[in-house]
């Protein structure tokens, strides 16, 4: 999975009208709550086989921070 794929999956998860690009503040997304955190954890586990620590997720400020946690990079 690439960074672009993950952004697309996250955009769909959060029911965005416009796709996420990265710099967005999680606090301003409107529906970034505890359910969203759980959903993101499950998404990354299902699609990438990566287990994220929730204590690290809650420290994230932007969408880019979330992507960085996964270690997933842009499509080359």
């Amino acid at each position: 999975m690439t960074r672009e794929d993950l952004l697309a999956e996250l955009s769909e998860l959060l029911e965005r009208e416009t796709p996420l690009t990265g710099p967005e503040l999680l606090s301003e997304l409107g529906n970034w709550d505890s359910m969203a955190v759980l959903s993101f954890m499950a998404l990354v586990d299902d699609k990438c086989g990566i287990t994220l620590a929730p204590t690290n997720i809650v420290k994230c400020v932007t969408v880019n921070d979330l992507i960085a946690l996964t270690g997933i990079r842009e499509k080359v």
């Binding site: 505890s34 359910m35 759980l38 959903s39 954890m41 499950a42 929730p54």
Partner: protein
């Protein structure tokens, strides 16, 4: 002095005995005189539990309860090895926090498989010839989430509610054989599992959960006591019941 919860030389199988409530239940039962058969997937962790039991006659029987079709045969082998079971406690289970958007049928069925289907097959195994002692007692570990809802845990909550239904049906079906079936519904208990759950929450959310339990969060021994009671002769006239052990969580 009479101990109404004594379990002298009664053979009791405890699943999920590697940790948490299952482990503490096994320890308590050994103190009450039972001969405990410890079940779990991890032999090393079962051996650790075994080393903490009181008395003799205990053993560890590693088994993966996800192999549900093999459970009755496994019970039969245990029966041949240690004698008929006077008690069966199903503490093994998985927790699942998957909101609906990321929950699919495979996730859902995986949870039901070990939490519910395994319980059914354990009871089925117990009913085989030579496997069940007279006046046996089965205790299934449900949860308050089987009684009240909580967002994000549909699979888990469903499985715990299913155990309540299973308890009631089996209680009626097995009453002619004088086998009692009950379940315990704990609130949030401090275990390794709950520590993992807390890792997903903010301090504010954790405080809210603690405040929702009027008597505070529970300890494994709080639940083990209830399980031991239901296994014992002190509960000889109790079957098909749900014993809520939750510090007042569901009293609201």
């Amino acid at each position: 002095m009479v101990n109404p919860m004594a379990l002298p030389d009664r053979v009791v199988l405890v699943t999920g005995a590697s940790s948490g409530i299952g482990r503490d239940t096994a320890v308590l039962l050994s103190c009450l005189g039972a001969r405990v058969v410890l079940a779990g997937r991890d032999r090393e962790r079962l051996t650790q539990t075994l080393s903490g039991l009181t008395g003799e006659g205990h053993c560890a029987e590693p088994f993966d309860l996800r192999s549900v079709e093999q459970i009755p045969q496994w019970i039969q082998e245990i029966g041949k090895k240690v004698g008929p079971l006077a008690g069966l406690v199903h503490c093994a289970g998985v927790h699942s926090r998957r909101p609906l958007k990321v929950l699919n049928s495979a996730n859902f069925e995986d949870v039901q498989r070990i939490n519910v289907t395994a319980a059914l097959m354990l009871a089925k195994g117990l009913q085989q010839k030579g496997c069940c002692a007279a006046n046996a007692s089965v205790v299934l570990l449900s949860s308050v989430t089987g009684l009240v809802g909580e967002a994000g845990i549909s699979a888990y909550g469903t499985s715990k509610a299913a155990l309540i239904g299973l308890t009631r049906c089996l209680a009626l079906e097995l009453a002619p054989q004088r086998t009692r079936v009950n379940c315990v519904a704990p609130g949030l208990v401090k275990t390794e599992m709950s520590e993992q759950l807390f890792g997903a929450l903010t301090p504010g959310q954790i405080a809210a959960i603690e405040q929702a339990h009027p008597l505070g969060l529970g300890q494994p021994r709080d639940v083990a006591n209830a399980i031991a009671f239901l296994l014992s002769d002190a509960a000889a006239w109790i079957t098909g019941s749900v014993l809520v052990v939750d510090g007042g969580y569901t009293a609201r």
